[in-house]
Protein backbone atom coordinates (compact mmCIF):
# COMPACT_ATOMS: atom_id res chain seq x y z
CA UNK A 1 0.00 0.00 0.00
CA UNK A 2 2.90 2.32 0.79
CA UNK A 3 4.28 1.79 -2.68
CA UNK A 4 1.28 3.46 -4.17
CA UNK A 5 1.22 6.68 -2.23
CA UNK A 6 2.77 9.53 -4.10
CA UNK A 7 5.69 11.26 -2.46
CA UNK A 8 7.28 14.46 -3.61
CA UNK A 9 10.67 12.96 -4.32
CA UNK A 10 9.32 10.07 -6.30
CA UNK A 11 7.57 12.29 -8.80
CA UNK A 12 10.43 14.72 -9.06
CA UNK A 13 8.12 17.71 -9.51
CA UNK A 14 7.45 18.58 -5.90
CA UNK A 15 4.24 18.18 -4.03
CA UNK A 16 2.19 20.37 -6.33
CA UNK A 17 2.88 18.21 -9.38
CA UNK A 18 1.90 15.19 -7.31
CA UNK A 19 -1.41 16.72 -6.31
CA UNK A 20 -2.05 17.77 -9.90
CA UNK A 21 -1.44 14.28 -11.26
CA UNK A 22 -3.69 12.74 -8.65
CA UNK A 23 -6.45 15.26 -9.33
CA UNK A 24 -6.35 14.81 -13.11
CA UNK A 25 -6.38 11.03 -12.77
CA UNK A 26 -9.17 10.90 -10.18
CA UNK A 27 -11.40 13.35 -12.01
CA UNK A 28 -10.90 11.52 -15.32
CA UNK A 29 -11.65 8.26 -13.55
CA UNK A 30 -14.84 9.66 -12.03
CA UNK A 31 -16.02 11.17 -15.31
CA UNK A 32 -15.34 7.88 -17.11
CA UNK A 33 -17.42 6.00 -14.55
CA UNK A 34 -20.18 8.59 -14.85
CA UNK A 35 -20.06 8.31 -18.63
CA UNK A 36 -20.40 4.54 -18.66
CA UNK A 37 -23.50 4.72 -16.48
CA UNK A 38 -22.27 3.89 -12.99
CA UNK A 39 -24.39 4.91 -10.02
CA UNK A 40 -23.22 7.85 -7.91
CA UNK A 41 -22.64 5.68 -4.85
CA UNK A 42 -20.30 3.49 -6.91
CA UNK A 43 -18.36 6.51 -8.19
CA UNK A 44 -17.92 7.92 -4.68
CA UNK A 45 -16.83 4.60 -3.17
CA UNK A 46 -14.28 3.92 -5.90
CA UNK A 47 -12.81 7.44 -5.94
CA UNK A 48 -12.61 7.50 -2.15
CA UNK A 49 -10.77 4.17 -2.13
CA UNK A 50 -8.22 5.40 -4.66
CA UNK A 51 -7.72 8.82 -3.05
CA UNK A 52 -7.03 7.13 0.27
CA UNK A 53 -4.48 4.86 -1.34
CA UNK A 54 -2.72 7.66 -3.17
CA UNK A 55 -2.70 9.67 0.07
CA UNK A 56 -4.60 12.82 -0.84
CA UNK A 57 -7.73 14.60 0.40
CA UNK A 58 -10.40 15.35 -2.15
CA UNK A 59 -13.82 16.93 -2.59
CA UNK A 60 -15.98 16.04 -5.53
CA UNK A 61 -19.23 17.27 -7.06
CA UNK A 62 -20.96 15.03 -9.57
CA UNK A 63 -22.93 17.11 -12.05
CA UNK A 64 -24.93 15.80 -15.02
CA UNK A 65 -22.28 16.63 -17.63
CA UNK A 66 -19.13 17.26 -15.56
CA UNK A 67 -17.24 16.11 -12.49
CA UNK A 68 -15.69 18.87 -10.41
CA UNK A 69 -12.85 17.86 -8.15
CA UNK A 70 -10.37 19.56 -5.84
CA UNK A 71 -7.48 17.55 -4.45
CA UNK A 72 -5.35 18.60 -1.46
CA UNK A 73 -2.17 17.08 -0.15
CA UNK A 74 -2.34 15.77 3.41
CA UNK A 75 -0.60 18.87 4.85
CA UNK A 76 -3.17 21.14 3.16
CA UNK A 77 -0.43 23.19 1.50
CA UNK A 78 -1.09 22.44 -2.16
CA UNK A 79 -4.32 21.97 -4.03
CA UNK A 80 -5.38 21.44 -7.60
CA UNK A 81 -8.84 21.67 -9.11
CA UNK A 82 -10.20 20.21 -12.30
CA UNK A 83 -13.60 20.35 -13.95
CA UNK A 84 -13.71 17.27 -16.12
CA UNK A 85 -16.24 16.87 -18.89
CA UNK A 86 -18.16 13.62 -18.86
CA UNK A 87 -16.70 10.98 -21.11
CA UNK A 88 -19.68 9.57 -22.97
CA UNK A 89 -19.16 5.92 -23.80
CA UNK A 90 -22.78 4.83 -23.54
CA UNK A 91 -23.91 2.50 -20.78
CA UNK A 92 -21.25 -0.15 -20.41
CA UNK A 93 -21.22 -2.56 -17.49
CA UNK A 94 -18.00 -3.94 -18.90
CA UNK A 95 -16.09 -0.66 -18.47
CA UNK A 96 -17.80 -0.13 -15.11
CA UNK A 97 -16.62 -3.55 -13.92
CA UNK A 98 -13.04 -3.06 -15.13
CA UNK A 99 -12.74 0.42 -13.62
CA UNK A 100 -14.11 -0.85 -10.30
CA UNK A 101 -11.57 -3.62 -10.33
CA UNK A 102 -8.80 -1.12 -11.12
CA UNK A 103 -9.64 0.78 -7.92
CA UNK A 104 -9.14 -2.39 -5.87
CA UNK A 105 -5.94 -3.27 -7.70
CA UNK A 106 -4.50 0.14 -6.84
CA UNK A 107 -5.74 -0.19 -3.27
CA UNK A 108 -4.22 -3.65 -2.85
CA UNK A 109 -0.91 -2.58 -4.34
CA UNK A 110 -1.17 -4.78 -7.43
CA UNK A 111 -0.54 -1.81 -9.71
CA UNK A 112 1.36 1.40 -9.08
CA UNK A 113 -0.14 4.82 -9.65
CA UNK A 114 1.47 5.33 -13.06
CA UNK A 115 0.46 1.82 -14.14
CA UNK A 116 -3.10 2.61 -13.09
CA UNK A 117 -3.10 5.72 -15.29
CA UNK A 118 -2.03 3.64 -18.32
CA UNK A 119 -4.43 0.87 -17.45
CA UNK A 120 -7.36 3.27 -17.30
CA UNK A 121 -6.58 4.47 -20.83
CA UNK A 122 -6.57 0.86 -22.01
CA UNK A 123 -9.86 0.10 -20.25
CA UNK A 124 -11.52 3.09 -21.91
CA UNK A 125 -10.52 1.68 -25.31
CA UNK A 126 -12.69 -1.38 -24.63
CA UNK A 127 -14.74 -2.03 -27.72
CA UNK A 128 -18.51 -2.24 -27.39
CA UNK A 129 -20.28 -5.56 -27.86
CA UNK A 130 -20.50 -6.83 -31.45
CA UNK A 131 -23.46 -4.99 -32.94
CA UNK A 132 -24.84 -7.96 -34.89
CA UNK A 133 -24.84 -10.07 -31.74
CA UNK A 134 -26.63 -7.29 -29.85
CA UNK A 135 -29.13 -6.95 -32.70
CA UNK A 136 -29.93 -10.66 -32.65
CA UNK A 137 -30.09 -10.91 -28.86
CA UNK A 138 -32.28 -7.82 -28.48
CA UNK A 139 -34.71 -9.10 -31.12
CA UNK A 140 -35.01 -12.50 -29.48
CA UNK A 141 -35.37 -10.77 -26.10
CA UNK A 142 -38.22 -8.57 -27.26
CA UNK A 143 -39.97 -11.55 -28.86
CA UNK A 144 -39.81 -13.47 -25.59
CA UNK A 145 -41.00 -10.31 -23.83
CA UNK A 146 -44.08 -10.50 -26.05
CA UNK A 147 -44.61 -14.02 -24.73
CA UNK A 148 -44.33 -12.79 -21.12
CA UNK A 149 -47.23 -10.44 -21.81
CA UNK A 150 -49.32 -13.31 -23.14
CA UNK A 151 -48.74 -13.04 -26.89
CA UNK A 152 -49.03 -16.15 -29.11
CA UNK A 153 -46.23 -17.47 -31.30
CA UNK A 154 -47.36 -15.56 -34.39
CA UNK A 155 -47.22 -12.32 -32.39
CA UNK A 156 -43.75 -13.29 -31.20
CA UNK A 157 -42.64 -13.62 -34.81
CA UNK A 158 -44.09 -10.23 -35.70
CA UNK A 159 -42.37 -8.62 -32.71
CA UNK A 160 -39.08 -10.30 -33.66
CA UNK A 161 -39.16 -8.79 -37.16
CA UNK A 162 -40.35 -5.39 -35.87
CA UNK A 163 -37.51 -5.28 -33.33
CA UNK A 164 -34.92 -6.49 -35.82
CA UNK A 165 -35.70 -3.68 -38.25
CA UNK A 166 -36.32 -0.98 -35.63
CA UNK A 167 -33.19 -1.78 -33.62
CA UNK A 168 -31.05 -1.81 -36.77
CA UNK A 169 -32.40 1.65 -37.65
CA UNK A 170 -31.54 2.85 -34.15
CA UNK A 171 -28.00 1.41 -34.47
CA UNK A 172 -27.42 2.92 -37.91
CA UNK A 173 -28.68 6.36 -36.88
CA UNK A 174 -26.57 6.37 -33.71
CA UNK A 175 -23.50 5.28 -35.71
CA UNK A 176 -24.10 8.22 -38.06
CA UNK A 177 -24.14 10.51 -34.98
CA UNK A 178 -27.75 11.50 -35.58
CA UNK A 179 -29.52 12.89 -32.52
CA UNK A 180 -30.54 10.04 -30.22
CA UNK A 181 -34.06 11.44 -29.78
CA UNK A 182 -34.70 11.46 -33.53
CA UNK A 183 -33.31 7.92 -33.72
CA UNK A 184 -35.78 6.80 -31.04
CA UNK A 185 -38.75 8.42 -32.80
CA UNK A 186 -37.83 6.78 -36.13
CA UNK A 187 -37.10 3.37 -34.63
CA UNK A 188 -40.34 3.22 -32.66
CA UNK A 189 -42.34 4.50 -35.64
CA UNK A 190 -40.97 1.79 -37.94
CA UNK A 191 -41.33 -0.93 -35.29
CA UNK A 192 -44.95 -0.04 -34.60
CA UNK A 193 -45.84 0.11 -38.30
CA UNK A 194 -44.34 -3.36 -38.85
CA UNK A 195 -45.99 -4.71 -35.68
CA UNK A 196 -49.40 -3.52 -36.85
CA UNK A 197 -49.23 -6.31 -39.46
CA UNK A 198 -51.12 -8.46 -36.97
CA UNK A 199 -54.09 -6.09 -37.27
CA UNK A 200 -53.79 -5.40 -40.98
CA UNK A 201 -53.55 -9.02 -42.13
CA UNK A 202 -55.43 -10.56 -39.22
CA UNK A 203 -52.44 -12.66 -38.14
CA UNK A 204 -52.52 -14.31 -34.74
CA UNK A 205 -54.99 -13.93 -31.90
CA UNK A 206 -53.12 -11.25 -29.93
CA UNK A 207 -52.32 -8.39 -32.34
CA UNK A 208 -52.68 -5.79 -29.57
CA UNK A 209 -49.91 -7.43 -27.54
CA UNK A 210 -47.64 -7.58 -30.58
CA UNK A 211 -48.16 -3.87 -31.18
CA UNK A 212 -47.76 -2.98 -27.49
CA UNK A 213 -44.51 -4.88 -26.95
CA UNK A 214 -42.89 -4.09 -30.31
CA UNK A 215 -41.29 -0.87 -29.01
CA UNK A 216 -40.31 -2.03 -25.52
CA UNK A 217 -36.68 -2.66 -26.54
CA UNK A 218 -36.33 1.15 -26.65
CA UNK A 219 -37.34 1.74 -23.01
CA UNK A 220 -34.17 3.01 -21.27
CA UNK A 221 -34.29 0.59 -18.36
CA UNK A 222 -30.76 0.99 -17.02
CA UNK A 223 -30.93 4.83 -16.84
CA UNK A 224 -34.27 4.53 -15.01
CA UNK A 225 -32.74 2.12 -12.49
CA UNK A 226 -29.62 4.29 -12.12
CA UNK A 227 -31.73 7.36 -11.45
CA UNK A 228 -33.73 5.56 -8.78
CA UNK A 229 -30.52 4.34 -7.15
CA UNK A 230 -29.26 7.96 -7.07
CA UNK A 231 -32.58 9.08 -5.58
CA UNK A 232 -32.28 6.58 -2.74
CA UNK A 233 -28.70 7.70 -2.19
CA UNK A 234 -29.58 11.40 -1.98
CA UNK A 235 -27.88 12.50 -5.22
CA UNK A 236 -30.91 14.49 -6.32
CA UNK A 237 -29.31 16.42 -9.18
CA UNK A 238 -27.99 13.27 -10.75
CA UNK A 239 -31.33 11.55 -10.10
CA UNK A 240 -33.23 14.33 -11.86
CA UNK A 241 -30.93 14.55 -14.85
CA UNK A 242 -30.87 10.79 -15.41
CA UNK A 243 -34.60 10.50 -14.86
CA UNK A 244 -35.35 13.34 -17.28
CA UNK A 245 -32.96 11.90 -19.89
CA UNK A 246 -34.79 8.59 -19.69
CA UNK A 247 -38.18 10.34 -19.71
CA UNK A 248 -37.32 12.31 -22.83
CA UNK A 249 -36.40 9.07 -24.60
CA UNK A 250 -39.68 7.51 -23.43
CA UNK A 251 -41.61 10.52 -24.78
CA UNK A 252 -39.80 10.11 -28.11
CA UNK A 253 -40.71 6.45 -28.34
CA UNK A 254 -44.35 7.28 -27.48
CA UNK A 255 -44.34 9.91 -30.20
CA UNK A 256 -43.05 7.41 -32.76
CA UNK A 257 -45.66 4.91 -31.63
CA UNK A 258 -48.46 7.48 -31.91
CA UNK A 259 -47.20 8.29 -35.42
CA UNK A 260 -47.40 4.60 -36.28
CA UNK A 261 -50.99 4.44 -34.99
CA UNK A 262 -51.94 7.49 -37.06
CA UNK A 263 -50.36 6.22 -40.27
CA UNK A 264 -51.90 2.76 -39.95
CA UNK A 265 -55.23 4.32 -38.92
CA UNK A 266 -55.55 2.17 -35.81
CA UNK A 267 -57.85 2.80 -32.88
CA UNK A 268 -56.03 4.26 -29.86
CA UNK A 269 -56.01 2.08 -26.82
Amino acid sequence: MMGNSLSAGQQGGGSHATVKEACVFLSEYASALLGCGATCIRIEKNVHRMAETVGVDYSMTIMPATVQMTVWDKDRKHSYSNIQKIRKSGTSFNINTQLSRLSWELHDGKVTFSEAVCKMDRILQTRPENRWLVLALASVANASFCRLFGGDFISMGIVFIATLVGFRIRQMMLEDKIDIRLAFVCASFVSSVIASAGYVFGWGTTPEIALGTSVLYLVPGVPYLNSMSDLLDGHYISFLSRFLDATVLTVCLSAGLCGGFLVMNLRWF
Partner: protein
Protein backbone atom coordinates in the same frame (compact mmCIF):
# COMPACT_ATOMS: atom_id res chain seq x y z
CA UNK B 1 -50.43 -27.03 -11.77
CA UNK B 2 -51.19 -24.30 -14.29
CA UNK B 3 -49.36 -21.88 -12.05
CA UNK B 4 -46.34 -24.19 -11.96
CA UNK B 5 -46.04 -24.48 -15.73
CA UNK B 6 -46.86 -20.82 -16.11
CA UNK B 7 -44.01 -19.97 -13.75
CA UNK B 8 -41.60 -22.25 -15.62
CA UNK B 9 -42.47 -20.66 -18.93
CA UNK B 10 -42.22 -17.21 -17.34
CA UNK B 11 -38.77 -18.03 -15.98
CA UNK B 12 -37.56 -19.30 -19.35
CA UNK B 13 -38.66 -16.25 -21.34
CA UNK B 14 -37.55 -13.82 -18.63
CA UNK B 15 -34.06 -15.32 -18.80
CA UNK B 16 -33.89 -14.82 -22.57
CA UNK B 17 -35.28 -11.29 -22.26
CA UNK B 18 -32.78 -10.30 -19.59
CA UNK B 19 -29.79 -11.54 -21.59
CA UNK B 20 -31.00 -9.77 -24.72
CA UNK B 21 -31.75 -6.46 -23.05
CA UNK B 22 -28.54 -6.67 -21.03
CA UNK B 23 -26.49 -7.05 -24.21
CA UNK B 24 -27.49 -3.49 -25.17
CA UNK B 25 -25.58 -2.23 -22.10
CA UNK B 26 -22.28 -3.99 -22.93
CA UNK B 27 -21.90 -6.29 -19.92
CA UNK B 28 -18.86 -8.55 -19.40
CA UNK B 29 -19.64 -11.89 -21.07
CA UNK B 30 -19.23 -13.97 -17.93
CA UNK B 31 -22.26 -12.37 -16.24
CA UNK B 32 -24.74 -13.60 -18.87
CA UNK B 33 -25.49 -17.01 -17.29
CA UNK B 34 -25.68 -15.61 -13.75
CA UNK B 35 -27.89 -12.76 -14.86
CA UNK B 36 -30.21 -15.09 -16.79
CA UNK B 37 -30.61 -17.33 -13.75
CA UNK B 38 -31.30 -14.45 -11.38
CA UNK B 39 -33.78 -12.85 -13.79
CA UNK B 40 -35.62 -16.16 -14.18
CA UNK B 41 -35.89 -16.56 -10.41
CA UNK B 42 -37.05 -12.99 -9.85
CA UNK B 43 -39.54 -12.76 -12.68
CA UNK B 44 -41.16 -16.13 -12.03
CA UNK B 45 -41.43 -15.23 -8.34
CA UNK B 46 -43.32 -12.11 -9.34
CA UNK B 47 -45.53 -14.21 -11.61
CA UNK B 48 -46.39 -16.60 -8.78
CA UNK B 49 -47.00 -13.80 -6.27
CA UNK B 50 -49.35 -12.00 -8.66
CA UNK B 51 -51.20 -14.98 -10.11
CA UNK B 52 -51.34 -17.42 -7.20
CA UNK B 53 -51.55 -15.01 -4.27
CA UNK B 54 -53.23 -12.10 -6.07
CA UNK B 55 -50.57 -9.66 -4.91
CA UNK B 56 -50.47 -6.17 -6.43
CA UNK B 57 -47.90 -5.48 -9.16
CA UNK B 58 -46.05 -2.88 -7.05
CA UNK B 59 -45.66 -5.09 -3.98
CA UNK B 60 -44.81 -8.16 -6.05
CA UNK B 61 -42.10 -6.16 -7.85
CA UNK B 62 -40.62 -5.15 -4.48
CA UNK B 63 -40.43 -8.79 -3.36
CA UNK B 64 -38.98 -9.97 -6.66
CA UNK B 65 -36.41 -7.16 -6.72
CA UNK B 66 -35.33 -7.97 -3.15
CA UNK B 67 -34.72 -11.58 -4.13
CA UNK B 68 -32.81 -10.45 -7.24
CA UNK B 69 -30.71 -8.10 -5.12
CA UNK B 70 -30.00 -10.83 -2.58
CA UNK B 71 -28.94 -13.34 -5.22
CA UNK B 72 -26.85 -10.68 -6.97
CA UNK B 73 -24.97 -9.74 -3.80
CA UNK B 74 -23.92 -13.34 -3.24
CA UNK B 75 -23.33 -14.36 -6.85
CA UNK B 76 -21.68 -11.14 -8.10
CA UNK B 77 -18.32 -11.80 -6.33
CA UNK B 78 -18.04 -15.06 -8.29
CA UNK B 79 -18.28 -13.18 -11.56
CA UNK B 80 -15.88 -10.48 -10.29
CA UNK B 81 -18.41 -7.85 -11.29
CA UNK B 82 -20.11 -5.19 -9.14
CA UNK B 83 -23.50 -6.22 -7.77
CA UNK B 84 -25.38 -3.73 -9.93
CA UNK B 85 -23.74 -5.04 -13.11
CA UNK B 86 -25.49 -8.34 -12.36
CA UNK B 87 -28.72 -7.16 -10.75
CA UNK B 88 -29.67 -4.30 -13.10
CA UNK B 89 -29.69 -6.48 -16.25
CA UNK B 90 -31.66 -9.08 -14.30
CA UNK B 91 -34.23 -6.40 -13.42
CA UNK B 92 -34.69 -5.25 -17.02
CA UNK B 93 -37.55 -7.65 -17.89
CA UNK B 94 -39.51 -6.17 -14.95
CA UNK B 95 -39.14 -2.53 -16.09
CA UNK B 96 -42.70 -1.21 -16.50
CA UNK B 97 -42.05 -0.10 -20.08
CA UNK B 98 -45.63 -0.34 -21.27
CA UNK B 99 -46.85 1.81 -18.38
CA UNK B 100 -44.12 4.34 -19.16
CA UNK B 101 -45.05 4.96 -22.77
CA UNK B 102 -48.79 4.72 -22.15
CA UNK B 103 -48.40 7.60 -19.71
CA UNK B 104 -47.26 9.89 -22.49
CA UNK B 105 -49.54 8.42 -25.11
CA UNK B 106 -52.56 9.20 -22.94
CA UNK B 107 -51.18 12.64 -22.16
CA UNK B 108 -51.24 13.39 -25.88
CA UNK B 109 -54.74 11.94 -26.20
CA UNK B 110 -56.02 14.27 -23.43
CA UNK B 111 -55.96 17.07 -25.94
CA UNK B 112 -57.96 15.32 -28.64
CA UNK B 113 -61.56 15.56 -27.43
CA UNK B 114 -64.10 17.11 -25.11
CA UNK B 115 -64.45 16.95 -21.34
CA UNK B 116 -65.40 13.28 -21.10
CA UNK B 117 -62.39 12.20 -23.19
CA UNK B 118 -60.14 14.45 -21.18
CA UNK B 119 -61.25 12.87 -17.90
CA UNK B 120 -60.82 9.39 -19.29
CA UNK B 121 -57.38 9.92 -20.82
CA UNK B 122 -56.11 12.05 -17.93
CA UNK B 123 -57.11 9.27 -15.57
CA UNK B 124 -55.27 6.74 -17.76
CA UNK B 125 -52.22 9.00 -17.93
CA UNK B 126 -52.15 9.43 -14.16
CA UNK B 127 -52.74 5.81 -13.25
CA UNK B 128 -50.15 4.52 -15.75
CA UNK B 129 -47.61 7.12 -14.67
CA UNK B 130 -48.04 6.47 -10.96
CA UNK B 131 -47.87 2.71 -11.42
CA UNK B 132 -44.71 3.08 -13.51
CA UNK B 133 -43.03 5.35 -10.93
CA UNK B 134 -44.07 3.17 -8.00
CA UNK B 135 -42.80 -0.02 -9.66
CA UNK B 136 -39.49 1.60 -10.61
CA UNK B 137 -38.99 2.95 -7.10
CA UNK B 138 -39.88 -0.37 -5.49
CA UNK B 139 -37.50 -2.20 -7.82
CA UNK B 140 -34.67 0.14 -6.87
CA UNK B 141 -35.48 -0.12 -3.14
CA UNK B 142 -35.77 -3.89 -3.36
CA UNK B 143 -32.45 -4.33 -5.09
CA UNK B 144 -30.71 -1.84 -2.74
CA UNK B 145 -31.86 -3.36 0.56
CA UNK B 146 -29.54 -6.40 0.31
CA UNK B 147 -26.64 -4.18 -0.81
CA UNK B 148 -27.00 -2.09 2.36
CA UNK B 149 -27.43 -5.11 4.61
CA UNK B 150 -24.39 -6.86 3.15
CA UNK B 151 -22.33 -3.74 2.46
CA UNK B 152 -19.01 -5.43 3.01
CA UNK B 153 -19.62 -8.11 0.41
CA UNK B 154 -21.27 -6.01 -2.24
CA UNK B 155 -18.68 -3.29 -2.66
CA UNK B 156 -15.81 -5.77 -2.64
CA UNK B 157 -17.13 -7.86 -5.46
CA UNK B 158 -14.54 -6.66 -7.96
CA UNK B 159 -11.62 -7.22 -5.59
CA UNK B 160 -9.36 -10.08 -6.53
CA UNK B 161 -7.54 -11.71 -3.65
Amino acid sequence: MDIFFGALQDAFFAAIASVGFASISNPPHRIYPVCAGIAAAGHSLRYVLMNALGMHLVLASLCAATVIGLLAVFLAPRTKAPAEAVSFPALLPMIPGMYAYRTFQNLILCLTGGEAEFHHYFYLCGSNGLTCLAVLLMMAIGVTIPIFIFKRISFRATRQI
